[in-house]
């Protein structure tokens, strides 16, 4: 521990967002620094490399106007977040500065924003059903408490309406509400104001970390970590059930790529750094439950797939870490179906434990499997129909085609109505009966 702050005026070079300093002593890796230019506002930065007495600092924020005469003050501490239940109801910037004109609160304690990994044996298996109000999720790709389930969207699809619908409608098994932590990364003003309106109507309370499209890129790397530090604190120190919505992870990954390139790191696939997987998991893996503790962190990241391509590194690596995915389809959206969820590539890996007798309904598993199988068959036949024409198909096959159409119109499509899981299952059951379908 150093006794006083160290201040240096030994900046040797500035390159984009990076500052090199000479003759610095006893600096910490990851230490937070304040950079005070001769004129203008002070900036924050973080030590990212130390070689002897030469230190490399990554500047958070706009570096335009910085010069080598700047003073750099070392704080002797890594980046930490002020934690308190008073965070609920507040709106912050991507660097945790209040945006709501309220004064800062007095933290109960400070926590490192990168967190620490949960010991795998301390984890409790996520298995408590969450009702989102959407049939495609509740009946077919069930979400459970402590799960991380991303929404894979494409440019122009109503991912934000869907995410907002989940925020509004999500209920715990006993009818309880979530505390929402909302992290906006590189949102346009239009999207931002839409979400803020939704959040204002939330009953369970929320905390928001907002980084808009024109704001510093580096904050996009910080905002989700602040959000998750707060979520972990509320969940595991105060026993709250926290729902973390992060949108849009594609902007996060692009920010990471931008920063990595500035650091002259070796690029991997499509220019993203080789450690993208590890970096993403350091966020996603913070979802979960802990044995013997009451709260939970459930995560809903939104990923916009570049070029609608699910094999693009961002959705690809996300899918490898998360426990399933909800995939939106352009085709369904064009038909006016909302939510336009394509059930076939969608998946919830933790569904098995969350459904059935005592959780949802005893017929849930079997019904979901059958609905899925018949719909898949109908979709397969659509391709065949395009070749041989409807008349070339057998009567049974024509029936499956009709089933797929009605499935989309009645089960997938629900507009703005909230369905309970029982209503969703009954809708499915009614479909099966109408087509006289058995196992």
């Amino acid at each position: 521990m150093r006794l006083s702050e160290h201040a240096y005026r030994t900046v040797s070079s500035i390159r984009g967002p990076l500052i090199f300093l000479d003759r610095v002593r006893e600096v910490r890796f990851g230490e937070v620094v304040r950079i005070i230019p001769p004129e203008g506002k002070p900036l924050e930065g973080e030590v990212i490399k130390i070689d002897g007495d030469t230190v490399l600092v990554q500047v958070m924020g706009e570096t335009r106007g910085l010069d080598t005469a700047s003073t750099v003050i070392f704080s002797d501490a890594v980046k930490r977040a002020p934690l308190s239940v008073e965070v609920v109801g507040r709106v912050f910037s991507g660097s945790f500065a209040p945006l709501d004109n309220e004064p800062p609160y007095i933290p109960e304690r400070w926590g490192a924003i990168s967190g620490a990994p949960i010991n795998p044996v301390a984890r409790a298996r996520p298995q408590d059903f969450i009702e989102t109000g959407f049939s495609t999720i509740d009946a077919l790709n069930t979400l459970v408490r402590g799960q991380k389930l991303p929404i894979f969207s494409c440019a122009g699809l109503p991912a934000k309406e869907m995410a907002a619908g989940i925020l509004k409608n999500a209920r715990l098994a006993g009818g309880g509400r979530f505390v929402v932590v909302f992290v906006a990364l590189g949102l346009t003003h239009h999207e931002y104001s839409y979400y803020m309106e939704v959040l204002a109507g939330m009953q369970g309370g929320f905390a928001a970390f907002i980084n808009r499209a024109g704001e510093p890129v580096i904050e996009r790397l910080l905002a989700p970590r602040f959000g998750l530090a707060v979520a972990e604190y509320l969940a595991f120190c105060h026993g709250m059930d926290v729902l973390v919505l992060i949108t849009d992870m594609t902007n996060y990954c692009d920010a990471l790529r931008e920063v990595s390139t500035a650091r002259e790191e070796l690029p991997g696939r499509r220019g993203y750094p080789g450690y993208l997987y590890s970096d993403l998991s350091s966020l996603y893996e913070r979802a979960g439950r802990i044995r013997g503790l009451a709260g939970s962190v459930t995560m809903l990241p939104v990923v916009t797939m570049p070029e609608d391509d699910i094999t693009h590194p961002i959705p690809d690596l996300t899918g490898y870490i998360t426990e399933g995915q909800i995939v939106l389809s352009r085709e369904l959206h064009q038909q006016g179906i909302f939510p336009p969820v394509d059930v076939l590539p969608s998946l919830s890996r933790l569904m098995q434990q969350g459904i059935g007798e005592g959780r949802t309904r005893s017929d849930h598993r079997q019904l979901a499997n059958r609905l899925y199988r018949h719909y898949a068959r109908g979709r397969d036949l659509r391709r065949l129909e395009a070749i041989v024409g409807r008349d070339g198909l057998s009567g049974q096959d024509r029936q499956m085609l009709d089933f797929a159409d009605v499935f989309e119109l009645e089960l997938v499509h629900q507009g703005g109505t909230r369905r309970t899981v029982s209503e969703s299952l009954d809708t499915g059951l009614a479909l099966m009966q109408r087509f006289a379908l058995e196992g």
């Binding site: 990851g30 002897g52 795998p120 984890r123 696939r269 997987y277 590890s278 893996e285 979960g288």
Partner: protein
């Protein structure tokens, strides 16, 4: 011997300590983070730290330990759950709470539990390294204690001991305990390697029947996300006919590990009906745990597996997934500023991988017993593209390739093993084995099954064009029977009773389908249509 930190870049730390050896373990900083020397220069050494280096300061002390990264081998490993550096996770939970913090050390040796040790060696006996010098009963498991090196025994006493206590010593005074240490990156020695001849029965029909694995063999399971790699690995871990399973969760999901532990705790080994956890060791280094420890985790695991192999047991090592290990290697290589090869992976990726996979095999041990170590590794190719470097590097050494197919998975056909692209180099040998031990018709049934699947593939294109109605009766029969093979035989629901099939059951199932085919074919030859023939047999089944 202490020195100071002079530079830090991510997990790579430069120190001014002299007299270190390559791959020696050093303790870094005031909190004593574990690190390994990866590069030596005249005035300094580069250390790869296994824990989060955030907050570490230049000038903090560094201490050498003169030992390599080792695994503790002895009673108490079974049913254990360790991180990539073999720290018992239960112990860490007890000591530090639910989050893993840096710098905590814990090992097998901390356990106060006592073990009953029996021996028939006494003063004056000469033993060679690897000889059995005693045994410990670990539950129902006979844990053999082997001599750590050659020498003459001065004293040895039976009794109850904790793992770290001395049970005897050599004439030169070197103590002997029931526990030994071994550097994880060095393969444990054996007298000689043998060729795999016995099958590794997994209980999965598509594997055991079409692509059989061998005890002592290696297999890889590549597949994109959502294709069921983890479920297949876990099913194999539950049902395989082996004495012991080492399961490595290498850079994967934390919730999955919680699920595995909970499920295994409630299940029984179908072969011995003992509790499944009693034969399982789990190494968990989830994706958000430090990358360098992820790189080490597979070596820690394989060393424990070899230790049990040396006692003459059949051990299966499952790693999920080896791609995450390769990525860890890439991250480390890039932080050392090494010249990259394909897609940024270091050029030594293939040779390291081959070196690891060569630790599998059937061996005659130093003590004369025969043991085997088999490996099944899952691979997570980016974008489901099998031409990427990790899959390709694995293919050069793996004995079996079980390719998981995304289109099968989307149709909920699980296990989604593709039956055209997969292969097993052990099929000849294992086919002979099954023909002898299960049924003489095994290899013929296999051939017929594969032919039906191949003809279905060809006919399916025709069916797409002319429609089912326009096809010949005998072709429709092939489509009908192949569909039954796919849905009733190759599909296997991991969540039901059907999750495990013994070889005899496999044979009965496929024979029933083939017999039905023969009967229908005879009816068609008699002039019936397929519908009539199906009705005649009354063997209508749920083909949906």
């Amino acid at each position: 011997m202490t020195g100071r930190i002079t530079g830090i870049a991510g997990p790579t730390v430069t120190v001014d300590l002299k007299g270190l050896r390559l791959y020696e373990i050093v303790l870094v900083g005031r909190s004593g983070l574990t690190g390994e020397v990866v590069r030596l220069e005249r005035e300094r050494a580069v250390v790869q730290v296994y824990e989060d280096t955030r907050g570490l300061a230049v000038g903090e002390p560094v201490r050498g330990t003169t030992r390599m990264l080792t695994a503790q081998l002895g009673p108490g490993l079974l049913s254990g759950m360790f991180d990539g550096l073999q720290r018992p996770l239960e112990k860490l939970l007890e000591r530090d709470g639910p989050f893993i913090s840096g710098g905590s050390s814990a090992s097998l040796l901390d356990s106060p539990r006592e073990w009953r040790f029996t021996t028939d060696k006494r003063q004056g006996d000469r033993v060679l390294s690897g000889d059995i010098i005693g045994r410990v009963e670990e539950g129902a498991f006979h844990h053999l204690v082997t001599a750590p090196r050659d020498g003459e025994i001065a004293a040895m006493t039976a009794g109850s001991y904790s793992v770290c206590r001395v049970v005897g010593n050599y004439v030169d005074g070197t103590p002997i305990s029931v526990c030994q240490e071994w550097p994880v990156r060095r393969p444990r020695p054996c007298l000689r390697k043998l060729s795999p001849t016995e099958p590794l029965v997994t209980g999965q029909r598509v594997v055991d029947f079409l692509y059989p694995l061998a005890r002592g063999g290696t297999a890889i399971i590549p597949g994109g996300f959502g294709t069921g790699k983890t479920i297949l690995e876990q099913s194999v871990a539950k049902f395989s006919d082996v004495d012991l399973v080492v399961y490595v969760g290498c850079g994967e999901r934390g919730n999955e590990m919680a699920e595995l532990l909970e499920e295994f705790a409630g299940l029984h080994d179908p072969w011995t009906s003992r509790r499944l956890m009693e034969r399982t060791i789990v190494v968990a280094n989830t994706s958000n745990m430090p990358v360098a420890a992820r790189e080490a985790s597979i070596y820690t695991a394989v060393t424990m597996a070899e230790y049990f192999r040396d006692m003459g047991y059949h051990v299966l090592l499952l790693a999920d997934s080896i791609s995450r290990w390769a990525e860890a290697l890439r991250e480390i290589s890039s932080s050392l500023e090494e010249m990259p090869g394909e897609e940024g992976y270091p050029t030594y990726l293939a040779s390291r991988m081959a070196g690891f996979m060569e630790r599998a095999g059937v061996v005659e041990n130093m003590n004369g017993t025969i043991g085997s170590l088999s490996m099944i590794l899952s691979v997570s190719p980016p974008g489901g593209d099998f031409t990427e470097p990790v899959t390709q590097a694995c293919l050069r050494t793996a004995g079996a390739f079980l390719m998981l197919d995304a289109s099968l998975a989307h149709r909920r056909h699980f296990p989604a093993v593709n039956w055209f692209q997969s292969y097993s180099l052990y099929e000849q040998t294992m086919e002979q084995h099954f023909s002898r031990s299960v049924a003489a018709g095994w290899s013929e049934a296999r051939q017929r099954c594969r032919t039906l699947l191949q003809r279905e593939e060809a006919l399916r294109e025709v069916a797409e064009i002319v429609g089912l109605e326009g096809m010949q009766e005998k072709d429709r029969l092939i489509l009908h029977s192949a569909e039954r093979i796919r849905l009733e035989f190759l599909c296997q629901n991991a969540y039901s009773e059907d999750a495990f099939s013994a070889p005899a059951q496999i044979m009965a199932m496929i024979e029933a389908i083939l017999a039905d085919y023969d009967r229908l074919e005879a009816c068609l030859a008699g002039g019936d249509t397929l519908e009539v023939a199906l009705r005649k047999g009354g063997s209508e089944h749920a083909s949906q």
